[in-house]
């Protein structure tokens, strides 16, 4: 009797451990923390539905930039710390679209169209660089991000923009740090089929746009080329022996990632309502990296589910901590907690990064 009891206990514990192993303890803790925040929200005087709306909104702004991590992870280039490069392509698209006089939804479409060649060209250069330094991608990517942001800090001032909505009022040249999108593509996706029930507001259009790109990525990974890309990430020597051009696959993944980052920042802007220039792209890479790691991706395996879960958890914490914590302890701890959670997550994920089995 006792023995059988022990056995069932053991299997239950094993099963529990198996679940924790597969889902990941940190993910579990973060999910529990987020759940706790939601439960606590009404008690400390923050509207529950408003908090849900906030989280969903932030999710919709950020999800595509997290999706941009997927191709490079698949091809074995690691986490794209060079995301700012793609973001800069998007910013060039956005500012040029406005400079050329497009307004309303057209300006969004034109921003995407203009950003694309920039993303492709910059992505190819970036990919070429990463092919030169195999094994040290993430380190180099970080510096590519840093240096491109710094370079563009100069260029935003020097490039001959003239649109009065964008340049500094007194000098008449040089772009402002923050440019309002009112009259251009502010909420252009979010307002499409927007659902408003009481305090709940769902930006349907943005979510659909993300779903479209996520589906595209999922589909791509099921094609011949996508399969080759995953194989390159899994074992480049195997892929080479199977006749795959490893460098070209890696290059393609970097271009894809850069392009998605460009689209991602445009979607972020339409939700946020402003274009942020200069140092802003600098702070975009780490949250995206952090989100996909929280979502359960490793340095060389990532799925669309990782993107969705990770973005939701990360943005949930980012939106919920300020409101709930501030209301609760009447002290501004939010930023501290946010930084600890996000940076700690990156640190954790990188220390236990799972390499491909050798």
């Amino acid at each position: 009797m006792n023995e059988t009891l022990d056995k069932t206990n053991l299997t239950l514990r094993d099963r529990l451990r198996g679940f924790v192993d597969s889902f990941g303890l940190p993910r579990l803790i973060i999910a529990a923390f987020l759940l706790m925040l939601y439960i606590a929200a009404p008690f400390v005087g923050a509207g529950f539905w408003m908090q849900i709306s906030n989280t969903v909104n932030r999710f919709s702004w950020n999800a595509i930039m997290v999706l941009a991590m997927v191709p490079m992870i698949h091809s074995g280039c690691g986490l794209n710390f060079g995301l700012p490069l793609g973001i800069i392509s998007g910013l060039l698209g956005a500012t040029l679209s406005i400079e050329l006089g497009f307004t309303g939804p057209t300006s969004f479409l034109m921003a995407i169209l203009i950003a694309t060649p920039f993303a492709v060209v910059l992505g190819m250069g970036y990919g070429w660089l990463l092919n030169k330094i195999k094994g040290g991608e993430m380190m180099i990517a970080t510096y590519v991000g840093f240096s491109s942001v710094s370079f563009m800090c100069m260029m935003w001032l020097l490039l001959p923009y003239h649109s009065p909505t964008m340049v500094w009022g007194y000098a008449g040249k040089g772009l402002r740090t923050t440019i309002s999108l009112e009259g251009f593509y502010d909420k252009v996706l979010a307002s499409f089929l927007q659902i408003n029930i009481g305090g709940l507001s769902i930006p349907t259009g943005t979510l659909l746009f993300f779903a479209l790109l996520a589906f595209g990525m999922w589909a791509f990974l099921h094609t011949k080329t996508g399969t080759a890309m995953t194989a390159v990430g899994s074992n480049p020597t195997f892929a080479k022996a199977a006749g795959v051009n490893v460098d070209r696959m890696r290059m393609l993944s970097v271009v894809l990632s850069t392009w998605l980052a460009a689209i991602g920042i445009l979607v972020y802007e339409q939700g946020f309502g402003f274009i942020q220039l200069y140092m802003a792209p600098f702070y975009m890479a780490l949250p995206a990296v952090s989100a996909i790691l929280i979502g359960g991706a490793s340095v060389n395996k990532a799925s669309i589910a990782n993107v969705i879960i990770g973005t939701f958890l990360f943005q949930g914490i980012v939106t919920m901590t300020p409101t709930v914590m501030n209301n609760m302890i009447h002290m501004d701890m939010s930023e501290v907690i946010r930084v600890v959670a996000s940076q700690g997550m990156i640190l954790y994920a990188l220390t236990r990064k799972t390499e491909a089995t050798k």
Binding site: H222, T223, A231, S234, N235, V244, K358
Partner: protein
């Protein structure tokens, strides 16, 4: 005091297995003071394992220790670390150098055993801060070098030395130990020029005269006969013969080395393809593959045959398929089916219906983190667009999961692959089954010509037979020309029609598989560099 009859070293009934894989069985070995023992055998015969046991290497303890006993001067000893062995007077010169490149010969010879002088600082802070006594060091190094009988510059920095002198520095280091009674030399002549090798043999003789026993491992059988008192031949973990050197010949030794059960490995059916057309013609091939350099290989392969390529490790046999298939930098010309195949381009080879099963299963052969389905279908999908559904006029090439599953299940059944299903990860399979996945991957390409490199390395006997049978069937039923590279001669003799032996990066000879083993053995050592 040990009396005159007690041998210096006695090994009794040594047994060792690595995870159930028996590598040494009942090894008995005795060695008298000043005796030179030649130890030879094919790669994997168990020589290195035996020496590792004797030298107390960590790897032995980590894999569960050994059985049997070792007696030194009649006393039972158990070395848990190489330090114990060193303290007992056993020295070993490994195949890989363990020298500090930036130090001089003297410093290397006496490293960590330097004579020291006390000084003011060391009086205060302890003996780790003693000054080195360079005069005394020079004297001791000179003594060790003269004991060796081959002169090297004791003040030369290791990194500037020719490779042979590095080897002698290592030997001098062992000789500088006062208590040295037994010196193990593991293939010391592999890197030496002919002249240096002769000098080494002379120094072995002089050591022997001074009462130091030497165990000398080499593939150059002539050297064994020239310098050793006794020859021990090992094969498959057994001592095959233990005879005085003057009573044997190179032919006999090479026969002992390779000739496992020559009668039982009966030829099933050797076919003569000399009339068939030449399907692949390799001319003046060189391949820059580290450790397996191919220098100048010309080889014709006949359509429909199974050609074996054998030879000792490091002689270049593995470089041939890796070079032809474009995985390592190569030069020369390769003609296949009348058309020239560009080298250094794996894709072009695959397009020409060549396929390759690599010896490096885990590194090149498999996607360890992916499913069996992916492993088997991937090359055929990428190269021949198999297992794909096309949409929008070929714009979208979608993975056909069902076709992939079908082909995987077919091969799982045909090759009797033990797995939980087609979706299992490749890394979870045993070595033999992983090898079958590699074969299935190549079979799925439906090639006209197949290179198989070391298909049975590291897999158990049962799986070996299955893998070889699968290859034979593939050759017979589909008429595919197979070139199989293997270190195991008997395996080649059991499946191939002809066998080419590679030695020193060149083809030493091609013989029908029915020729006696010792002929192949002679070819193997004929051009060893």
């Amino acid at each position: 005091m040990a009396n005159a009859k007690t041998p210096l070293l006695e090994m009794r009934k040594i047994k060792k297995d690595f995870f159930g894989n028996q590598v040494l069985t009942d090894i008995n070995l005795t060695l008298a003071e000043g005796e030179v023992l030649g130890l030879c055998g094919e790669n994997g015969a168990g020589k290195s394992t035996l020496m590792k046991i004797l030298f107390g290497m960590d790897v032995i303890r980590q894999t569960g220790g050994y059985e049997g006993e070792i007696l030194l001067n009649g006393e039972k000893v158990q070395f848990n670390t190489p330090f114990d062995a060193l303290a007992a007077g056993i020295g070993m010169v490994h195949q890989e150098f363990s020298l500090i490149p930036g130090f001089t010969a003297t410093e290397n010879i006496l490293l960590n055993r330097e004579p020291k002088k006390r000084n003011v600082i060391s009086e205060v802070f302890g003996d780790r801060l003693d000054t080195l006594d360079y005069n005394e060091m020079t004297g001791r190094a000179e003594a060790a070098i003269s004991k060796m009988g081959f002169s090297i510059d004791k003040n030369m920095v290791i990194s500037e030395m020719p490779v042979g002198h590095k080897q002698f520095t290592e030997i001098a280091r062992e000789l500088s130990k006062d208590r040295l009674k037994l010196l193990i030399l593991d293939e010391p002549t592999a890197v030496l020029t002919e002249k240096e090798a002769e000098a080494l043999l002379a120094s072995i003789r002089s050591m022997s005269e001074q009462g130091i026993a030497v165990i000398f491992i080499t593939h150059r059988l002539q050297e064994i006969l020239a310098v050793c008192n006794r020859v021990v031949v090992m094969r498959d973990g057994f001592v095959i013969s233990d005879v005085p050197a003057e009573n044997t010949t190179v032919q006999e030794i090479s026969k002992w080395m390779v000739g496992r059960n020559v009668e039982t490995a009966a030829k099933l059916d050797i076919r003569d393809h000399s009339a068939a057309k030449t399907i692949m013609s390799i001319k003046r091939l060189w391949v820059d593959m580290p450790g397996e350099t191919v220098r100048d290989v010309s080889l014709d392969v006949k359509e429909g045959e199974i050609l074996g390529i054998g030879g000792l490790a490091g002689q270049g046999k593995l470089g041939i398929p890796n070079g032809v298939m474009g995985l390592y930098e190569a030069g020369g010309t390769v003609e296949f089916d009348g058309k020239q195949i560009p080298l250094n381009s794996p894709r072009k080879c695959l397009d020409a219906s060549l396929a390759f099963v690599s010896e490096d299963r885990r590194g090149v052969g498999l996607l360890l983190d992916e499913t069996l389905e992916w492993n088997i279908a991937f090359p055929a999908m990428q190269v021949q667009e198999k297992f794909l559904k096309t949409y929008l006029g070929g714009l979208v090439k979608w993975r056909d999961e069902k076709a992939i599953r079908d082909v995987t299940e077919r091969y799982i059944e045909e090759l009797a692959i033990k797995c939980t299903g087609s979706k299992q990860k490749a890394k979870e399979l045993s070595g033999g089954n992983q090898q079958k996945i590699c074969l299935a991957k190549a079979f799925a390409l439906e090639p006209k010509f197949l290179f198989v490199s070391e298909p049975t390395r590291g897999i158990d006997v049962g799986a070996k037979a299955l893998v070889l049978e699968a290859l034979r069937r593939f050759n017979r039923e589909s008429g595919v020309t197979v070139v199989m590279i293997s270190s195991e001669l008997e395996e080649l003799r059991s499946i191939c029609d002809r066998i080419a032996i590679v030695s020193g990066g060149r083809i030493a000879g091609i013989r029908p598989a029915s020729d006696p083993s010792e002929d192949f053995g002679m070819l193997m050592v004929s051009m060893v560099k």
